[in-house]
């Protein structure tokens, strides 16, 4: 090789990539016939050009029509957004939203900042639930035996069956937190005596409810007040990610994590797989599921003053005892015994009505495993004649779903109320299509004493109808939903509200604000009835498994949502799949590598899934995500751009991922023991984003001596209090070749991201996607490193073995003052604004991709294709203020320039300058942890200027002297050890 002339090749696929290549001779160039004068070819060239030019010049532009309203409603102005207050029914947590409506269609959801629960934050699922409204595969007509029907036929059929039933008919719903629905279900039960109502939650919180019933005589979930607790011990409760009401809890949790206060809360998290709460924890204890139960028992012993052998338990018990009345112990294990222990601990610590509110209790979840079990037994014994299923998908989410579907098919009456085809609707004779929450009226008492309102923001797309209206017509009544709810509240509002205001006023306020405080019913709890459960757990010999929910897909309720499927899992960064997370120990023992498909057996249950090596995983536990393998996700076969080498995201007729619902135990426990693991020999490609977007230098491209770059800079709370700059990387002296001749005289926009606050929930990623018309590309394109998210959430691990720390870093265009992308653009398509923003001008871009190559942060995204926009329905979600980029164009974070402009126009109208806080970027608005701050760096009073000067502020890759305007704030953990030790000094 060395004595020969160097071989140049363009890619590794070229044959010249190997050392022994000998193809130095170029293939002979075809000889061109030399002729003189006007040849046939030049004639064709000229003719082609002239005809082309003529054609372009003489085509008529299409005539565009402008069609005004016939009678324009007073509040509607074309081109101007109207905002409606509403409540999200995307999940049971019931976060309050503001819906942005442009020209009659909702295009963005934002949290309602005044609402006491979510306080302005919104999760990724809720943000993404918007596109489900425009889903062209939604059921818009009632179906009878799978065929299109109309309401009258369907209603008559149902009423006839209801009247002539001799056996029980079960109304199976998700938790009903709407007072008016409860009322109408009551009427329904009174009219048809055979009806019984069973509530179930797909992911069950039954153990918490049951434990409280045993202890206090009432089934309820207390209001957990993470803002009031100084010490939080979470026993496998992923309250920042998926547990009960994560947005509310994140907001509350952050309130007691303000670094300028004297003390911040400490979070101890015990778990067996890596969750978002575990990633945020100040101390993370890794135990297997069976060990966790044992640990809880020992912890209870420690709290009650008995001797405990477990060193963790005794240590934590001591800590808890020091924080009596200021601590909070929560557990996410759906085992009544564990929940009884947790109640005992909290009682003993005196946390009741201090950190655990027993007055304004949560009504978000009320499902009962016992009731569901009884229902299943009855249906198996033929004691049930019919089912009406609304809001839940038991065939998918219950462990014995398959048998259940067979039984449902045999019933005389089977009605499914759903807005999408799902496993349950497939086996029901009648499908009564439900409405999307943006099309319907609803009232929710999510927490006792807080009434939230849902209002429609557009005309319904089809002839669908909500559960409330369906029951209403089965009661033989007609009317509209608004009047139904309004009349219900007219009747009872005097008993619910203290003020002397009229009902119309009360109602208008309720609809305008989206919520109102009402008098809560007194729960009348019994005195604490101590109930010490007997727990005897033998340590299992083999491996254990735990089934968890991811923050993006939960239990598969939103599996048909392309935005959520392509949202990388915050921890593993994998899209479009579920997998088995294993520890390196298991990988070594079974000789498994990433992507190896294994067959897992537990009792009679089996599943085949690819393997993923997860740092921080308990060494004898494997974990699998729920919510995959949902029927209906076969549709993603088509997703992504069509081209010659396209590989479908899923094979035809195969859903995304595999369902593991059958691994849930009979008592609805999400853990169990593995009987065997068998390597199948097959492999599977997992589409991971961080492997190519990470800023860490790949080993094979950088020399080993290259210093590690301090992307995440970390300190402890103690050190921070001594020195706010602690943990920060000492800057290298940078020599600059740029003159400092660009002064930003007006505004200078900048952003700061608090790594310490960020929980990794990924709500910003989806928010950005909705706001900026970012396309979905499909699994194959993600594998080709062509995902399009403008904002990505980098995840960094530190530490070894099970003791792994996780830090999240939202990475988007850093809007560098010395932007390296700008000088390399040959057509000046990326330039700097006078306000410090790096602008990407789509109509100038010719797609050389030099800029992306020169970007050290790897945040630029190239439109390799004209991404599928054929679905006219889905196109309605596009933001009309942002260009839809075409093929061959580079794009990236614009710092929501459309929002800056809008604020500027509004300020101009009022004759003012833009004030701090007038502009809220999409990512910033949705962030439940308030980790993103945006503002004017030139304004010394702005929040951002204060943060930049706070000592915690640093810039990523500062040594490159690109001078980004986006900065980060150091990660601060509330723990003992000194973080300064391992830091790299320049």
């Amino acid at each position: 090789m060395s004595d020969k002339i160097k071989n140049y090749y363009t890619s590794f696929e070229d044959s010249c990539s190997s050392d022994d290549c000998s193809c130095t001779d170029l293939p002979p160039v075809a000889e061109v016939e030399k002729t003189s004068g006007f040849t046939r070819r030049s004639f064709l060239k000229t003719a082609g050009f002239s005809f082309g030019a003529l054609f372009v010049a003489c085509t008529q532009a299409p005539v565009k029509k402008a069609i005004p309203f016939l009678i324009q409603p007073e509040e509607i102005l074309p081109g101007k957004a109207i905002w409606y207050a509403s409540t999200s029914n995307a999940c049971e947590a019931g976060c309050a939203v503001h819906v942005k409506n442009r020209d009659g269609r909702p295009i963005k959801l934002e949290g309602n900042p005044e609402h006491p629960l979510n306080q302005g934050g919104l999760c990724s699922q809720c943000q993404a639930s918007l596109i489900e409204l425009y889903d062209s595969k939604r059921i818009l007509h009632p179906l009878l035996n799978g065929e299109k029907s109309d309401w009258q036929t369907v209603d008559n059929k149902i009423i006839e069956k209801l009247k002539n039933s001799d056996k029980e008919i079960v109304l199976l719903t998700n938790t009903v937190s709407s007072p008016s629905s409860e009322n109408i279900i009551g009427k329904f039960k009174r009219k048809y005596k055979n009806i019984s109502h069973v509530q179930m939650d797909e992911y069950s919180y039954s153990a918490i409810l049951d434990a409280h019933e045993k202890n206090y005589g009432k089934r309820f979930i207390p209001k957990y007040q993470f803002d009031k607790a100084d010490l939080i011990v979470s026993i496998d409760a992923d309250f920042l990610g998926t547990w009960i009401s994560p947005i509310q809890f994140t907001k509350d949790f952050q309130k007691n994590r303000k670094l300028d206060s004297k003390n911040i809360s400490k979070l101890i998290h015990i778990e067996s797989h890596m969750s978002l709460t575990g990633a945020k924890a100040d101390e993370r204890i890794v135990l297997s599921p069976s060990e966790i139960i044992k640990f809880t028992k020992e912890l209870d012993k420690g709290i009650q003053g008995e001797l405990t052998e477990n060193k963790y338990a005794s240590k934590i018990a001591n800590l808890l005892k020091h924080n009596k009345g200021k601590s909070l112990v929560v557990s996410g294990i759906n085992d009544v015994r564990v929940q009884l222990l947790v109640n005992r601990i909290n009682k003993k610590l005196g946390n009741i009505n201090k950190t655990l509110n027993h007055k304004e209790v949560s009504k978000q979840y009320a499902g009962s495993d016992k009731d569901v079990k009884v229902f299943i037994e009855k249906i198996n014994n033929g004691k049930i004649e019919g089912v009406i299923i609304a809001g839940v998908n038991p065939v998918y989410s219950l462990p014995n779903g398959k048998e259940l579907s067979k039984k449902i098919k045999l019933l005389k009456l089977s009605v499914s109320i759903t807005d999408n085809h799902n496993e349950t609707s497939e086996c029901c004779k009648i499908v009564a299509p439900d409405r999307h929450y943006l099309e319907s009226w609803n009232d929710n008492e999510i927490v006792l004493g807080l009434l939230s309102m849902t209002q429609p923001v557009l005309q319904p797309f089809g002839k669908n109808r909500s559960l409330r209206m369906s029951i209403n017509s089965w009661l033989g009544k007609s009317g509209n939903e608004r009047d139904l709810i309004r009349n219900y509240w007219r009747g009872i509002f005097t008993s619910k509200v203290k003020t002397t205001q009229t009902f119309t006023r009360f109602w208008n306020n309720l609809v305008h604000d989206g919520f109102v405080k009402i008098k809560p019913i007194s729960l009348k709890l019994n005195a604490f009835n101590d109930n010490r459960p007997q727990i005897n757990i033998n340590k299992p010999k083999g491996l254990e498994y735990i089934l968890y929910r991811t923050p993006q897909l939960a239990f598969g309720q939103h599996a048909e949502n392309p935005w959520l499927q392509e949202l990388p899992d915050p921890i593993t960064k994998i899209t479009w799949d579920n997998y088995v997370s294993i520890s390196p120990e298991i990988s070594k023992k079974y000789k498994l590598e990433k992507g190896d498909v294994i067959k897992i057996k537990s009792g009679n249950n089996t599943v085949q899934l690819p393997v993923f090596l997860q740092p921080g995983q308990q060494k004898n536990t494997i974990s699998i995500a729920l919510g995959y393998g949902r029927q209906g996700t076969e549709r993603f076969h088509e997703i992504g751009p069509n081209w010659l080498e396209k590989k479908p995201t899923v094979e035809k007729g195969i859903p995304v991922g595999k369902s593991v619902s059958h691994f849930i135990s009979e008592n609805i426990n999400f853990t169990g023991n593995i009987t065997s693991i068998i390597k199948t020999g097959k492999t599977w490609n997992l589409a991971m984003t961080q492997t190519f977007d990470s800023l860490i230098n790949p080993i094979n491209t950088s020399p080993a001596i290259m210093p590690k770059r301090p992307f995440v800079q970390e300190t402890t709370f103690k050190s921070y209090k001594k020195d706010p700059t602690s943990g920060k990387h000492h800057g290298h002296p940078v020599t600059t070749m740029w003159k400092d001749d660009h002064k930003y005289k007006g505004h200078h926009w900048g952003m700061a991201l608090d790594i310490s606050a960020c929980t990794g929930c990924s709500s910003c990623v989806v928010s950005c996607q909705v706001e900026n018309n970012v396309p979905v590309v499909g699994k194959d394109e993600v594998l080709r490193k062509r995902d399009m998210h403008w904002l990505r959430l980098d995840r960094y691990y530190s530490g070894k073995g099970e003791n792994v720390d996780v830090s999240f870093q939202a990475m988007m265009c850093q809007h560098c003052d010395n932007a390296p992308c700008e000088p390399v653009c040959p057509v000046l398509a990326t330039v700097h604004s006078t306000e410090g923003l790096n602008e990407q001008i789509y109509n100038r871009c010719v797609g050389t991709r030099f800029c992306a190559n020169n970007c050290p942060y790897k945040v630029r995204r190239f439109n390799w294709f004209e991404y599928a926009r054929e679905d006219v329905m889905e196109n309605m979600v596009l933001n009309p203020d942002v260009t839809v980029r075409s093929r061959g164009v580079m794009e990236k974070c614009s710092m929501c320039i459309q929002r800056i402009q809008e604020a500027r126009f509004e300020a101009k109208k009022n004759g003012k300058s833009i004030q701090d806080g007038d502009i809220q970027l999409a990512c910033q608005q949705s962030c439940p942890a308030d980790a993103i701050v945006f503002g004017d760096l030139n304004d010394p009073k702005s929040k951002i200027s204060k943060l930049v000067n706070s000592g915690r502020h640093y810039k990523v890759l500062e040594e490159l002297n690109v001078r980004p305007t986006v900065g980060y704030l150091t990660q601060v953990r509330n723990r003992e050890e000194d973080s300064n030790k391992g830091n790299h000094h320049g």
């Binding site: 372009v56 010049a57 085509t59 532009a61 005539v63 565009k64 029509k65 402008a66 069609i67 005004p68 309203f69 016939l70 009678i71 324009q72 102005l77 074309p78 081109g79 101007k80 005289k745 007006g746 505004h747 330039v831 604004s833 006078t834 306000e835 923003l837 602008e839 001008i841 789509y842 109509n843 100038r844 203020d881 942002v882 260009t883 839809v884 614009s894 320039i897 459309q898 402009q901 500027r904 126009f905 300020a907 101009k908 109208k909 004759g911 003012k912 300058s913 833009i914």
Partner: protein
């Protein structure tokens, strides 16, 4: 030799004259580069005259195009705004006067009748109702963001871009709406820029219009 030189010079002059001539012809004709619709004057479904309404009657622009102050679009007036006047006025004033003199019933103008027809023939028949489909004259490409709001609030006259609409019977696009034409204004100082932090240099940023 000399002949050749003169010949060459003649050739040059002829070419020059031809090119300049073609240039002048193109400049004065309706031929435009693709995307330039200067002079576009489409026929509208109702022969609405701005000359009558804005010129003779001096109705302010913002009475009908009331969206301009607060929205991206100035807006085409909805039929109910037309009806504010045309509930009472159903024909030309001159015709009215003549009719009054002669004591005969005023005939409804066929053009105004189109507004009435858009509300439907009977009150109950909703299917019948359809708003007038006007032809849009001023079009910008999708990659340009333009909002009336800041321009109106800066005190820019409508005529500056739309020409003297008050004298047009049928509205015509009088400017080429090209980027250079936009920048001609954006490069100038304006009194509305004095009080705010936004200087005119900001108005020349690409992302003022392109995002």
């Amino acid at each position: 030799m000399k002949d050749k030189l003169i010949n060459n010079q003649l050739k040059l002059i002829t070419t020059f004259v031809v090119i300049v001539g073609i240039g002048i012809i193109i400049k004065n004709s309706n031929i435009h580069f693709p995307g330039n619709f200067e002079g576009y004057e489409p026929k509208q479904p109702i022969a609405f005259s701005h000359q009558l309404h804005a010129g003779e009657m001096t109705i302010p622009c913002m009475y009908c195009h009331f969206g301009a102050e607060d929205s991206k679009h100035a807006g085409i007036p909805p039929a109910n705004v037309c009806m504010n006047c045309h509930e009472f006025v159903n024909n030309n004033t001159n015709e009215n006067k003549i009719a009054e003199k002669l004591g005969r019933k005023v005939e409804v103008s066929p053009e105004i009748n189109k507004i009435y027809e858009s509300f439907g023939t009977s009150e109950k028949n909703y299917e019948d109702k359809s708003p007038t489909e006007w032809v849009k004259i001023h079009n910008l490409p999708d990659f340009v963001f333009f909002s009336h709001k800041p321009h109106i609030n800066a005190g820019i006259d409508c005529e500056k871009c739309h020409g003297d609409v008050a004298s047009m019977t049928r509205v015509k696009q009088v400017n080429d709406l090209s980027m250079g034409w936009c920048l001609d204004c954006h490069r100038q100082d304006h009194e509305s820029l004095n009080n705010t932090k936004e200087r005119k240099s900001q108005l020349q940023d690409c992302a003022t219009c392109h995002y």
